[in-house]
């Protein structure tokens, strides 16, 4: 397995398990018809410029919210749902970079932004898909180089 495949797998599965008590399984599926209404992205500033993005359907985010907050999704205010999405991405991104980079290599990431278009073209993007319950979640990472070794 390539380093970034392993990093992506660990980042998503650990985050969903520890934050939301949910299991995520990597899949090779055509997600073109999937309704991924919720997107969030943050920029990687160091050690190299890039972007980390997640996309998932509203129903999955609501399910995660129910587990995290312990309340029915209907009772949640929209700001709380969006805050959850931002925190989910922030945690996945940090875990991904910790796993990918050499030990103790510092990194710097930006703040999560919701509903923004991709910062980089698809040719610079690597995507992974995960099945969580009956839904799909996509993680994508774009950067100028695959080589993060210092």
């Amino acid at each position: 397995m390539r380093n970034n495949d392993h990093a992506a797998l660990l980042a998503v599965t650990e985050t969903l398990e520890n934050l939301a008590f949910m299991e995520a399984f990597p899949v090779q599926e055509d997600v073109s018809s999937a309704h991924m209404e919720m997107t969030a992205a943050l920029l990687i500033h160091e050690p190299q410029q890039g972007e980390i993005r997640i996309a998932l359907p509203v129903a999955l985010l609501e399910g995660i919210a129910q587990n995290v907050f312990g309340m029915p999704a209907e009772g949640m205010a929209l700001p709380d749902t969006r805050d959850l999405l931002a925190e989910l991405l922030n945690t996945i991104a940090g875990r991904y970079l910790i796993e990918l980079l050499p030990p103790d290599q510092p990194f710097r990431i930006g703040l999560p932004e919701l509903d923004q278009p991709p910062a980089f073209g698809e040719d610079l993007c690597t995507m992974w898909h995960f099945r969580v319950d009956e839904h799909l979640l996509t993680l994508s990472v774009s950067h100028h180089s695959d080589n993060y070794s210092s």
Binding site: E14, N18, F69, L84, E87, G94, I98, P106
Partner: protein, 123 residues
Amino acid sequence: MGKKVLIVDDSNTMRKIVTRSLRQAGLDFEEILEAGDGLEALAVLRGQKVDLILSDINMPNMDGLAFLREKSADDSLKSIPVVMITTEAGNDIIGEAKSLGAVGSIKKPFTPEQIQETVGSIF
């Protein structure tokens, strides 16, 4: 335990997750207080006695490192133990936090066991 803990994080989600993890870890605090950034945290600390602080690093208005600097400069606050909860991995950030008085750090995503191990060792 009869103690109070202050959770400092700009994310309402993360404050709830930390609260949940403290309870799942069996750490029975008398009261769990919350603040959205370092400035709010200082206001809380100057109003009541707190026994432990769990703080994020990246926050608006006053980030975790600036909060540590302000806290350590206040004789009435500097002895309160602070544990940083963060996505940061680099030794430079955590090292700076410890030089400013943080007693430990926990990386996200964390388990209740990791919270228990770090916080339990303080008390």
